[in-house]
């Protein structure tokens, strides 16, 4: 696994930030954006120079991906997996919402008098939604199946389902899964236009929450068939993926969180677990009034007040298409290190949200985590991760 975000680069930096209850959000400006908002900006992206063989993929999204690929021995783990399974038996399943669209936004400012884009603009390897999987598949010298899931903010949770199904069908033995989304004008101005962007650091589950803070992240997990992989003590198992659709509205969740309930239940069912087995729920918790209200209703209906839960978006910001992958990795860190993270930026917990929201970090054995990701279009996905020793 590897993760790059505003919390830092790599698992240790991420864990340290979680343990110190440190947020990566800041009120620094991004590009030419003049909105009053806080962002989760990943350090060092502008300074990345891609190798010549990958230069055609150069854009903020792929640079951020490149940073994450260099962390935590991921390249070495991939080389070993390639030797073990063969390049054609390893897939690439990644989520993104906006890919390298920042390149296009900037290119539109450089249009000539006839409205043409500049000659150096490269649509396929930067803007196109598939660019991130193309880049990673090329960088890791893989020859297996690949696809990008782009279902807004559930994208990089849903990819775990794609990988699970294609591995089960026998097409491949392993996959790189996760997601990458990076700061751009479309999402900052877009969420602002919907009045969903907070002027403060986002406050998930707070009574005065007033919108999200946008972050950026690159999250990668090497997923392997449980039966071909030599078990290690700190392996984390993917036991369940639950997916559903709201059938309600493009940008507002089902008011009672019905789709979220279906997704959580489907993940539990696939894992063969009861609600009492779950030690921690990593909430979607974007800090918009409607998301947290709908999600809390869904969690309360399924779990009551018993199960500890929190959103880590107060730390990372909402990393959109990368959120599912980033939070799967955070959940895996919670399992490995026995941590139940408290949510950040809370002044007054919303009394209308009847869930067991954690306000401070707690050390406790964590065997099973449910991680929620929901998105525009009413798309829902819940992942169930487990400690190997618990199974």
């Amino acid at each position: 696994m590897s993760l790059s975000s505003s919390l830092g680069h790599g698992l240790q930096a991420t864990l340290d930030a979680l343990r110190e209850s440190r947020s990566g959000l800041s009120d620094q400006r991004f590009e030419t954006v003049e909105l009053s908002t806080w962002i989760g900006h990943a350090a060092g992206v502008d300074a990345v120079v891609l190798p010549d063989a990958l230069r055609r993929f150069d854009c903020r999204n792929n640079r951020l991906a490149w940073l994450a690929l260099q962390q935590d021995g991921l390249m070495d783990a991939l080389a070993a997996a390639r030797a073990r399974h063969g390049a054609s038996r390893i897939g690439v399943f990644l989520g993104t919402s906006t890919s390298g669209i920042l390149e296009t936004e900037q290119a539109y400012r450089r249009r000539d008098e006839a409205g043409n884009l500049p000659a150096d603009f490269n649509y396929r390897e930067t803007h196109n939604t598939y660019s991130i999987a193309d880049f990673v598949r090329t960088a890791l010298q893989l020859e297996g199946p690949a696809v990008v899931v782009s279902t807004a903010c559930s994208s990089s949770a849903k990819v775990f389902g794609n990988a699970q199904r294609i591995i089960a069908a026998g097409f491949i033995d392993a996959a790189i899964v996760g997601g990458v989304d990076s700061l751009c004008l479309t999402t900052l101005h877009g969420f602002h236009s919907l009045q969903l962007l907070s002027a403060d650091p986002c406050k998930p589950y707070d009574a005065s929450r007033n919108g999200l803070s946008i972050g950026e992240a690159a999250a990668f997990v090497l997923l392997e068939r449980a039966d071909v992989h030599a078990p290690k003590d700190d392996d984390v198992l993917l036991l369940g993926v639950g997916e559903s659709a709201d059938a309600h509205h493009m940008s507002a969740p089902h008011p009672e969180g019905l789709g979220a309930r279906i997704a959580m239940r489907a993940a539990m069912q696939q894992a063969g677990l009861q609600t009492s087995d779950i030690d921690y729920i990593n909430l979607h918790g974007t800090a918009t009034p409607s998301n947290d209200a709908a999600e809390a209703q869904a969690v309360a209906a399924e779990f009551g007040m018993a199960t500890p839960c929190s959103s880590t978006k107060g730390a990372t910001g909402h990393t959109l298409g990368a959120a599912g992958g980033a939070e799967a990795i955070i959940s895996a860190l919670c399992i490995r290190h026995g941590l139940i993270p408290g949510g950040l930026n809370i002044t007054q917990l919303d009394p209308a949200l009847h869930v067991n929201y954690q306000l401070a970090n707690r050390d406790a054995p964590v065997s099973h985590v449910l991680s929620n990701s929901f998105g525009f279009g009413g798309t829902n996905c819940s992942l169930l991760l487990a400690r190997r020793g618990a199974h």
Partner: protein, 268 residues
Amino acid sequence: MAATHTTVHLLGLGAIGPGFADWPALAAILRAEQPWSHTPTQIPVLQVLPAAERRRVGVVIKLALATGLQAAQHAARDPAKMASVFSASNAEGENCHALCEALAGEDRFISPTRFHNSVHNASSGYWSIATGCMAQSTSLCAYDASFAAGLIEAATQVASTGEDCLLVVHDSVYPHPLGTARPLLDNMAIGLVLSARPDTRALARLDVSLSTGAPASPAPPGLAALQAGAPCGRALPLLHAVALGLETSVNLEYLAPQNLRIKVSPCP
């Protein structure tokens, strides 16, 4: 050793594109009963969606939803009860262009509806709203390999759940200047309903596997421009075999060095 494969049954088809308004029209072209000519794609009027939503949706949503409904009807399946996979290389061209243009301007005001309609999964979201379907639905992209990638996902979904799955592969043309960077022949969509079980309606059995090294099958006679013109056009060798009731194998364009091999067996 036989290559790993997944078996699904094709229950129904939908098709909208340049020169054809539905599957029977495209099938007639594939059987060479009708010549193909590039008359511009007619975007259908939607009969589904609440009026407020219907006013907000653009070309690509209309195209994707109408194609999915055609396929569901052909398969005699209730769209509210099927999982769905939407796959596209260019999903929301109109909105993307309008947003980039506004963001390049002075005041940078963008329409909230344009923003939430600009997501790659807008067709999947509106499908769910239009049909009331709460089953899982996803939205994929694999550039020119978007048809094969969608078929792999839909087929492995059917194999893992045992439930029917709708696949809609659709592409919309970008306005200028993005249309110059990514030219497509026209707006086009292909829909398939796949099932784990053959029923009396099944058109063909499809054994789907990966094949390394073998070239993609050539376009059916006279249809090279259509096959190359949009990512969903890469389905034509498969659709040609189905339209003619051939027992054969086709290779669809996927990701080098792999293509998608499909053994097509007509159902009696």
